[in-house]
Every structure is written in C-alpha cells, then in structure tokens.
Symmetry: C2
Subunit: 276 residues, 2 copies
C-alpha cells in the first residue's frame, strides 16, 4: 500500500502557535501540486527512514513512526520536490508516513486522525504549521481557522488542473523565520489582512494578487524574486513567492521566468493525501 | 469549463431535518464513485437544462440556476449513473451546476459556498440530505454532523482506488422513505447506532459490515438483495444495499453477483467535485 501526498506551496499565512500542537497551526491560503511524495512502509528488524533511497534522520517522519508503528519499520519516501524551499516536503513525508502506517498495520484511523499525528510532529519539530491540513485536503486551500486536521477549518477555491511554473534558487529556514519575533509580527498582521481580503473575493487571481502583496510587503521576497514577479506580470501572467523558500511560482508567462533560473512545471492537484 | 461530480452511495444514515435547509442534513457514511456527472454551462436566450442531451425539468438543478445564474443559461449535464437508485444523481447534477455556474460567471464562491447552494436545493426538493456534502469531499466519507457543506462536519476513511461492483434492479423513492415517519424512526435509530460503532473502528470492512446490518435491520433491503449480500459474503467479498435504491454494491466476489442481474464495475473516487 502506497500513500500519495501532494506538494503544498503557501501564498500567505499568519501563524497561530499555542502550547498544544493540535491547537497550533496557521491561517492563510496555499496550493497543492501534483509533484507529490509517495511513501511505503514495511515491517523490519530496525527502524530506517529512507528519503529518496538514502537513510535519513527525517525527524518529522520519525516522530510519526514513534507515535504509530507497533514494531520497527522501513519507511521509503520518494520526494520529487525541492526540500526546504516551501513545497511542504517534511509535511508530505510525515503525512504519507501516517497514511502508510495506518494502512500497513490496519490502525483504524480516519484521514483526519492520521493527519493530526503528522501535524503534531510537524508543529513540534517547527518545520511547518499549515502544510499538513492543506495537503490532507487537496486543491487551492483556504485555512480559515488554525489547528490540526479535524480541528482547523478549511475551504477550497475551485481551480481547474492548470499548469504551475516555478523557479527555485534555494531554501529558506522555516524555523528561523518562525523564531524572528519582529518579522513574525509583521507577517501575522499582513497574513490576517490578506485572508480577510481573499474571503471577500475567493478566486485564483485574487489569491495570486494577495500572495504577491504579502511577499513584497513582509520583505520576505528577495530582489530577484520581485523582479521575476514583475516580469511574469508584464508577460500577462501572475506570480508570487513560495512561502517559505527562495523560490517563486507562476500561472502563465513561463517564458518570462526563464532568465531567473531553471523553470519547472507541474499542475494544480485537486487530489489530497490518499492511498494508491 | 466543465465540472465533475462523483456518484455517491450511502451505506447507512440518520436524517436530521430542520426548518433551515442549511442546518438540515444527515449523518452516516457513504462512498464516492468514479462513475461521475459532468456539467457545462453556457449563456443562452432562455434557460434549458439538458440531462444526457434531453431537456428536463430537473427541479434541483433548476433551483441552483435560479439562485446563481445572472442570465438565462443552457446547462448540459451528463449523468452516466442510474437515476433514482441511490447514486446521488440529483445531487451530482445540482452540485456540478453550482460549480459550473461559479466558474462561467466568475461568481467568486468557494467550494463550500457553491456546494451549499446545491445542498439547499436538494434538501428543499426532498431528493436527498447528505449526498452533496459527501460528493464535495470525495472518498469514503463519514458525515459526523449534519448540515450543508461548511456547516456539517465530515471525515474520511482512507481507501485505495478499489473496484466496486453493483447491480441495480430499480429505483426507490427517497422522498417516500423520508416521509414515512415510522420507518424513519427506525432508520434514524439504527443509523445513529451504526455511526457510533463505525467511529470505534473506522475502516472499509467495518463500513461494509455496518451498512449490511443497517440494510437488513431497517427492512429496507428486499429479499433478492439480502440473498445477493449472502452470496457475495460466501464468495469472500462484502456487499450491502445502496441507500436509497433497489440496488446493491460489493467489494470483491463479482461472480457471486451475476445471478442477481447485470453487474457493472466502477472505482472508489478520492476525487470530489472539481473543475476539469
């Protein structure tokens, strides 16, 4: 039994950190991508977590294994997305791990229950706050109320399976940004404002417009990224920054992105976490 | 822009009817199937609703058009599923209509907001109570709290895309069953009991076992359907009745079904209502 989890890129967010990881989370809006992780699980003599074929500490997935596995296991996760660049790779690994363990050992968890274990691990390791609940849903997800899957509240913006282009220059440390209190105050203020604005007109173009505003006004977007967004806009598309990575994504105007790095293309994934 | 909506077959349910259609709904559990409706919408001189190419009163879809369309439209819905046999055809038509109108006229509704319009129409026309929220989700859906999408609460049971076999003998009138007070008292009592039992062990086999119990103990299953369930079980599969149709569905043991009618096969659909 194989578990699939899409990449998830956040456009804007506001963090809500509480003492209980299941109450912690973020509000905001982000997009699930077909570029997804797959995870299989097998009983074993000792626990080993393989990321793209190589043994890895993988602390988030490991915490899920420690919570759910009744015996040692080999977890084999394929992550085709860039790591540390805002694609929700750690959430995808942890969520796939929870689904695969649930199926392998017939644990009898619902989707939200399995996903809540992955959310708790992600929040505890400070690798993310909102990816897991969005990846558990699929599509273009609005996170209305923070919290683990089953506690947080989400809705979706209907979006056809359009191509999404992206350029990645490198990682940004999520835990560093989340720990910078002055930055986070401005992020949270702007994130809440963008969410309020999106709810007045929840459409894909409005999501892109607000994400771009958030990326520039928080100062998170580096100069090349701002230039790239402007180039895409001049080419008739819409682009914004991937939160949190030194990376941008766009709808349309692929050619305008080419001078900024290697352009890759995937699709919007309506499919959320699920078994293959 | 084309909208896709899966078929939805309920295994067991308890009705919750309130004066507000958005507060009305049902709890229970059901399965989304790949056998899905597709709907397109176009501006027109006068409003016409086509079901499988033929003009139809289609009261549920019509109510959605009256709620959402800013001008006359032609709605073209293809329904490959049997009608009136518990596949949620009216919900699929109405929900597809809401998604397609939202896309065609750029209405700026979220998935839950569009689906709530379809839910209200379905409840008002007394054609169903829980299909729309389940079809809006995809997969094997537990309806935990009744209500329209965005108000009702759902979770899912992780299920791989397995083949589902079904035999349909004919329709059962949903509105007749919902109007029979004595029957509904027993349906509701049993439906709540099955939900409680499912939540102790939310797995696909347990869903099938409880659905079968519900079908026989409510007396809704006709003698041929009970025989067919027993035959599937003897063949190593699991079967139950489709609520509400004179029809059964099974996982496994396809050959055991053949003496009861034409056996068709589709797949579990993790994909819920979405744009193509």
């Amino acid at each position: 039994m194989k578990a699939f989890v899409p990449s998830h890129i956040t456009g804007f967010f506001a963090a809500h950190r509480k003492s209980d990881p299941l109450e912690s989370g973020s509000v905001g809006c982000g997009l699930n991508l077909c570029l997804g992780a797959t995870t299989t699980v097998e009983r074993s003599e000792e626990t080993v977590i393989l990321l793209n074929g190589l043994p890895n500490q993988a602390p988030v997935s490991r915490m899920v294994v420690e919570s759910l596995a009744p015996c040692p296991v080999v977890v084999d996760t394929r992550l085709p997305m860039p790591e540390g660049a805002g694609f929700g790779a750690s959430g995808a690994g942890a969520l796939g791990c929870a689904y695969a363990l649930n199926a392998c050992f017939d644990l009898g968890l619902t989707c939200n229950q399995a996903a809540a274990v992955a959310h708790r691990a992600e929040v505890t390791c400070r690798t993310g706050l909102g990816d897991v609940i969005a990846q558990n849903t699929g599509g273009l997800v609005i996170r209305l109320q923070p919290g683990a899957p089953g506690r947080g509240v989400v809705d979706r913006i209907p979006t056809p399976p359009l191509p999404v282009h992206y350029v990645v220059r490198g990682p940004i440390s999520t835990s560093e940004v989340l720990s910078d209190e002055a930055l986070m105050r401005s992020v949270n203020r702007l994130g809440e404002r963008c969410l309020k604005a999106l709810l007045k007109r929840p459409t894909l173009p409005e999501f892109m417009r607000l994400s771009r505003l958030f990326a520039t006004e928080t100062g998170l977007a580096r100069p090349w990224a701002v230039e790239a967004m402007e180039a895409v806009e001049a080419g008739g598309g819409q682009a914004s920054m991937i939160m949190l990575g030194d990376a941008i994504f766009s709808f349309g105007a692929k050619e305008a992105l080419q001078e900024f790095g290697e352009v890759k293309t995937t699709m919007v994934s309506e499919r959320g976490a699920s078994l293959d």
